[in-house]
């Protein structure tokens, strides 16, 4: 369970932005890919703990889970993977390791006042 470490890093990244622009953050938008190795529900609980006694204490965490997208060299196209257990093109079945989306663990938006 490393989600607490992740949440603490996230709080410090958001606080850095908040200080720089001098605003108050009411919600944090996060993009989360299945290959980030982070569990959504564990992260939501950890976020509450990491925010305790910080200016982010009453802020919300909004997680946008993005699917894995691979590049298929046979179809020459990006494809969304239906399963994390099978890295091959869902159209033509060509195996591929070219991941173009799915490792995300990034703050993409802040709701500020």
């Amino acid at each position: 369970m490393h989600e607490l470490s992740i949440a603490v890093s996230m709080v410090s990244v958001v606080q850095e932005e908040a200080r720089r622009h001098q605003f108050c953050v009411s919600a944090v938008h996060l993009r989360l890919g299945p290959l980030s190795g982070v569990d959504k529900h564990a992260l939501l609980s950890a976020y509450l703990m990491a925010c305790y006694d910080t200016p982010l204490e009453n802020s919300r965490l909004i997680i946008d889970e993005v699917p894995i997208v691979i590049y298929c060299s046979t179809c020459q196209a990006k494809r969304t993977l239906p399963s994390i257990q099978r890295f091959c093109c869902p159209e033509c079945a060509t195996p591929t390791s070219q991941v173009v989306q799915g490792r995300e663990l990034e703050v993409v938006g802040l709701e500020v006042e």
Partner: protein, 234 residues
């Protein structure tokens, strides 16, 4: 009166601080010509036994060192000290993985220029270490024959984040009716093209081949460094 909330677009990687340190480490390893391999696996897959054997085997031809991560105890470092290679234990306390800053701190007193290969044994855990870049050149995931053929399907993220797979404890394969083909199918499903080695730390089978592979990967890195230096000079 409160102002209406507004949405501000930002783009910040949550693990940016780890990635910055990992990048710095990678640059140090590059400048020193040190090839770095990290080992990840579940607890009890045989990382330390494997490391002890591979260090002993490669010690005659290369200048080696190892960092070993554990929640507690110095037992692994004491075991590995038998190989006569410099070993340092990183005890993480309650943390379930190594972070780049821990590696950097542990390396502080070591001269990287005097090292050909550095091994980093991560904390036994198939989930958390996948998120943290340690600046390594090669990440090896270990899977012992006693763990079951479907482990790659249960932990696809760590297998996907690794560069090579090592199937360990092959001496027990027959006793546990290990299905090597099924395991390979599962590894290839989550990481197509992944190179896989089979080893036994007990009998020594497969260790020579793996040592040769590491030696050639290090030679490739040195060649890249020399080429790069030449281009920069021109």
């Amino acid at each position: 009166m409160n102002q209406m909330p507004r949405l501000l677009e930002v783009r910040r990687n949550v693990l940016q601080s780890n990635d910055i340190v990992a990048k710095r480490l990678r640059a140090h390893f590059y400048a020193a010509g040190t090839f770095v391999i990290s080992l990840v696996s579940s607890p009890g897959s045989g990382k330390t036994s494997f490391l002890e054997k591979i260090l002993t085997l490669m010690n005659k031809d290369y200048r080696l060192a190892a960092l070993v991560g554990d929640l507690a105890t110095e037992n692994d470092a004491l075991r590995l000290a038998r190989s006569d290679v410099p070993v340092k234990q990183i005890t993480t306390g309650t943390l379930c993985h190594l972070e780049a800053a821990m590696v950097e701190a542990a390396l502080e007193s070591w001269n990287l220029d005097a090292l050909d290969l550095l091994f980093i044994e991560n904390v036994g855990n198939l989930v958390c270490p996948s998120s943290y870049d340690l600046g390594e050149d090669l990440r090896a995931v270990l899977l012992s024959v006693t763990e079951g053929e479907d482990k790659p399907l249960k932990y696809p993220t760590i297998f996907n984040s690794a560069d090579i797979a090592l199937i360990t404890k092959m001496d027990l394969a027959e006793a546990v009716e290990f299905d090597e083909d099924a395991t390979n199918v599962n590894i290839q499903a989550v990481r197509p093209g992944m190179k896989t080695f089979t080893v036994s730390s007990k009998t020594g089978d497969g260790l020579d081949l793996f040592a040769k592979y590491l030696g050639s990967r290090r030679a490739d890195k040195l060649r890249d460094i020399r080429r790069e230096t030449k281009v920069t000079r021109q």
